[in-house]
């Protein structure tokens, strides 16, 4: 008396993992690098303003220099905030229990 051993059925795929992360063709990296580029442009403008104020340009007042510096500050903080949010989301995913 013999019983034949039925072969195991192949494991059916549960689903497919697709490459994701893009919404409307823009991903976080793209907006982060744009924010960084903006911040860099504003930093350049702030240092130009400080330089022309120091060299005695009559059209460049104190408040223009301070405002340029403040704009650069906000832009840098915007870029940093984007980065922090992205890193936070990544960490959250990496902490998933399996």
């Amino acid at each position: 008396m013999s019983t034949s051993i039925a072969p195991l059925a192949p494991i059916a795929p549960i689903g497919t993992i697709e490459q994701g992360g893009k919404v409307d063709g823009k991903d976080l990296a793209e907006s982060f690098s744009k924010a960084l580029a903006d911040a860099r442009g504003l930093e350049d403008r702030a240092s130009e303003a400080a330089q022309s104020f120091a060299s005695g340009d009559p059209s460049m007042g104190i408040h223009e220099v301070v405002i340029a510096a403040e704009k650069a500050n906000i832009a840098v903080r915007y870029a940093t905030t984007l980065k922090n949010k992205a890193v936070e989301a990544y960490r959250e995913l990496m902490n998933t229990q399996v």
């Binding site: 924010a35 903006d38 007042g61 408040h63 223009e64 405002i67 403040e70 704009k71 906000i74 832009a75 903080r77 915007y78 905030t81 949010k85």
Partner: protein, 144 residues
């Protein structure tokens, strides 16, 4: 940069600050020359005044309210057409045939009022600016 729309408020305030700075410079010029009997172009110094004009904000171009949100700029510095103040001083080198000297049409009290106006308007501009910066900072702090 539409992502940084708080900058529009900052640019509008900055244009106001620049205009008030010019008003301050003009008031300083008027006060300094309150006794100047010999100005460029002959005759006594004539009181100057700023004429303000609303202008486009560079950062707001292309945004929804570009036509409504306006900055300010000094369009010209005008001369007060009021007649000069005549004082009798025959020994003065600029005295006319009747012995009168033409002094500038500058009233120091009026200039002090202009200066206080400029100072208060400048403060208001700084407050607007600080509020815009605070709003941007609060926005960056969402979720903290």
């Amino acid at each position: 940069m539409a992502t940084m729309d708080f900058f529009t408020a900052m640019e509008v305030s900055a244009s106001g600050l620049a205009a008030e700075r010019t008003r301050m410079n003009v008031a300083a010029s008027n006060l300094a020359n309150a006794q100047t009997t010999q100005a460029a172009g002959g005759g006594p110094y004539k009181r100057k005044d700023v004429v303000l004009q609303s202008v486009d904000v560079p950062g707001a171009a292309g945004t929804q309210f570009a036509q409504a949100v306006r900055g300010v700029a000094v369009s010209q510095i005008s001369q007060d057409a009021a007649p000069p103040r005549l004082e009798y001083d025959p020994g003065h080198p600029q005295a006319n045939a009747q012995g009168y000297v033409a002094y500038p049409n500058v009233n120091p009290v009026e200039e002090m009022v202009d200066m206080i106006t400029a100072s208060r308007a400048y403060e208001a501009g700084i407050t607007t600016m600080s509020t815009a910066v605070n709003m941007a900072e609060r926005a960056l702090g969402i979720g903290k």
